[in-house]
Symmetry: C2
Subunit: 333 residues, 2 copies
C-alpha cells in the first residue's frame, strides 16, 4: 500500500496541512519542520496521490488526443510533438483512436469527459455539429491540429494547404515541366482535399498551363494503394505527363511503386513531388522531393495553446510554415 499524507504527518509529528504546505511549497512553516517533513517523505517513499489531488483541484493535468488513426505515419509524428511538450509542462496524454468512426469518437469523448481531462486535441478530422456540442459540454480547451472548422470557432494549428500545394507545383514548373498532373484526395474534403487541388490549379493557371480536369486524379483517401492505382490511371489518361504532384507522401510512394512496376523511371521519365515529408520520404527510392509539414512543431504548438487557454489566456490559430525539401524525385528539364 502506498503511504498517504497522513502517514507522513503522523511520522513527522505535524498535521497533514503542514505536509501539504511543504509539498506545494507554500509559506507557513519553519525551516526545521520543512526538513523534518522532507526527510520522512523520503523515508516513507511517499508520492502524492494525483487522483485525490485532481478531485479537489479539479485539474487532472491530462490532455486527451483524438486521432483518426494511431498507426498512421503522420499521427505518430504529431503525437511525438504533443507528448514531448505536454510532459515538459507536467501533463500526461491519453491517446484515442477514432478510426474516423462516429460512434467510437463519441464514446471516447464521453470517456475523456468522465476522466476530466483538462484539454482536448483533435487531429486531422472534420468537426461535426455533434462533436462540437460535446466539446462545449465538456467546457475545456479544444484545439484542432492539421484540420480546421469553418463553422465553429475552434482554434487550430496547421499549414496553409493551398499555399503549400502551390509551392509544390511551382517547383515542378520552375524545373521546366509543362505537363503536370496531380494525384489528389477527395475534392469534397474541405481540409486536405480541395485546398491542395486549388493550390495546384493556381500555380498552373499562373504559369499559363493547361487546366483540364482530367489532369487531376482524385482518390478517396491519401493512402499508398490509392497512389498506386491513381498513378496508373492518370498516366493511362495522360501518357504525355512529365511530372506529378501527389497530395501526400503515401500517394507519392504509391505512385513510385506503380511506376517501378510499369518500368517508368523516376525521375528520368516522370518527376514526382510529395506532400508531408514523413520519415519514409527520405527512405524512398529515389528519395522523395516533398513539401514538409512540421508535424512535431504542430503538436507542440497545439499543447502550448491548450495550456495558454487553460490559463485563461487567448490562443490564436496558427499557420505554421511549410517547406520544400528537395531530394531526388524531380528532374530538371
Amino acid at each position: 500500500m502506498n503511504p498517504t499524507i497522513q502517514d507522513v504527518a503522523r511520522l513527522a509529528n505535524v498535521s497533514i496541512a503542514t505536509v501539504s504546505r511543504v509539498l506545494n511549497n507554500q509559506p507557513g512553516y519553519s525551516e526545521k519542520t520543512k526538513q523534518k517533513v522532507l526527510e520522512t517523505i523520503e523515508e516513507l517513499g511517499y508520492q502524492p496521490n494525483a487522483i485525490a489531488r485532481g478531485l479537489v483541484n479539479r485539474k487532472t493535468s491530462t490532455i486527451g488526443v483524438l486521432f483518426p488513426s494511431v498507426s498512421g505515419l503522420l499521427s505518430a509524428e504529431i503525437l511525438h510533438g504533443i507528448e514531448a511538450k505536454a510532459h515538459q509542462h507536467g501533463n500526461s496524454v491519453i491517446v484515442c483512436n477514432t478510426a474516423e468512426n462516429r460512434e467510437k469518437t463519441i464514446k471516447y469523448l464521453q470517456v475523456l469527459r468522465e476522466k476530466r481531462v483538462d484539454g482536448l486535441i483533435f487531429v486531422s478530422e472534420e468537426v461535426t455539429e455533434e462533436y462540437y456540442e460535446l466539446f462545449r459540454g465538456m467546457d475545456i480547451p479544444v484545439v484542432l491540429v492539421s484540420t480546421q472548422s469553418y463553422q465553429y470557432p475552434l482554434p487550430y494549428v496547421k499549414v496553409d494547404d493551398r499555399h503549400a500545394a502551390y509551392a509544390a507545383t511551382r517547383h515542378l514548373i520552375e524545373e521546366g515541366h509543362t505537363k503536370i498532373g496531380m494525384i489528389a484526395g477527395s475534392p469534397d474534403d474541405p481540409i486536405a482535399g480541395s485546398p491542395r487541388i486549388e493550390g495546384y490549379r493556381l500555380a498552373m493557371r499562373e504559369a499559363g498551363r493547361s487546366l483540364e480536369d482530367s489532369l487531376v486524379e482524385t482518390c478517396s483517401s491519401f493512402q499508398y494503394n490509392d497512389g498506386k492505382s491513381g498513378f496508373s490511371s492518370l498516366m493511362n489518361r495522360h501518357p504525355e505527363l512529365t511530372a506529378i504532384f501527389a497530395a501526400s507522401d503515401e500517394l507519392a510512394i504509391g505512385a513510385i511503386s506503380a511506376a517501378y512496376k510499369e518500368s517508368i523511371r523516376i525521375p528520368d521519365d516522370v518527376s514526382i513531388v510529395g506532400y508531408d515529408n514523413l520519415l519514409l520520404a527520405e527512405m524512398s527510392v529515389p528519395p522523395l522531393t516533398t513539401i514538409a509539414q512540421p508535424f512535431g512543431r504542430m503538436g507542440e504548438r497545439a499543447v502550448q495553446m491548450i495550456i495558454d487557454l487553460m490559463n485563461g489566456e487567448e490562443a490564436e490559430s496558427t499557420i505554421l510554415p511549410h517547406e520544400l525539401v528537395i531530394r531526388d524525385s524531380v528532374k530538371r528539364r
Copy 2:
C-alpha cells in the same frame, strides 16, 4: 459546471446511494425509481466523475505505456494494438516517450505512479535494476513487449528472435543463395541484437555455409542510416555476397537505398530480407520480403495480460508466431 450525483439525487428525490446503485446496477431499488433516476440523469446530462470514482475504488482504468520512441514506425503499430484492446475493456492509455533516457524514464514512472495507473506496459527496452525496483514500488501489473528480462520475473510478449532470424536466413538458403551476409544490431543487445545474429549463424552452420565474423556487419541501432552505411561497408568487404539478411526493415530499406546509389540492383544483384514487416516494407521499391512480427496482436496480448493480472489471474509470457512474408526483394538462384 458538470452536474454531480448530488444534483441527480436531489432532482430525482432519492439519496445519492440510490443513484449510485442504479449507476452501477446493483440491486436495491424499484423499477420505478430506476426509471426516475435514469430520466433525470438524461435530463441533466450527468456523467459520473471518474476521478472521484478512482479515489474510492482505487482503480483508474488507465494503463501507462512506455516507449523508447513514439514516432518510430514500430511503436506506432504496437500502440495501435494496445489502444484498441485497452479501450475495448474500458481502459485508457497514457503514452510516454522515454527516448531511451534514464532520467526521463524515471520521471515518467513517477508520474504514472502518482496518477495511479492500473498497469504498465514496457516496450522494446531493457529493464534495469532501477526500473525494476520502481515497478515493484508501484505494485501493479507490468508486462514487457518486444523485450524480456532474464534477471527479473516479468511476463512478456514477443516473438522468438532467434527462430525468426533463422527463418529469414533459411529462406535465403532455400532460394539458392550461398554467400549470405547480415546487417545486424549490436551484439551487446541481448534482446534484438545477439539472438538474431545467432539465428542467422544457426541457419548458416546448419547449411554448412561460411561463418566468418566479417559476414555480419554490426550497427549501433536499427535505423535507416545504419542500414545505408552498413550495406556499403559490408559489400565493400564482401563483394561476392548475393544475399543479405537485415535485422530490421529500416536497416533493409537503408540497404536498398545504398544499393540504388551504387547501382547495385535489388534483387537481381543482391537479395535482401528484412525483419518486422512495417507498413513501409510493402511500400518499398522493390517491395520487401521480410519476417513479420504481429505488432498489433502483441499490443493486444499485452493488454489482455495486464487485465488478467489485475483480476488476480496468472498471465503467462507469450511467444507469438512470426511469419515470412514473401515479396520481391529476394531472387531465386
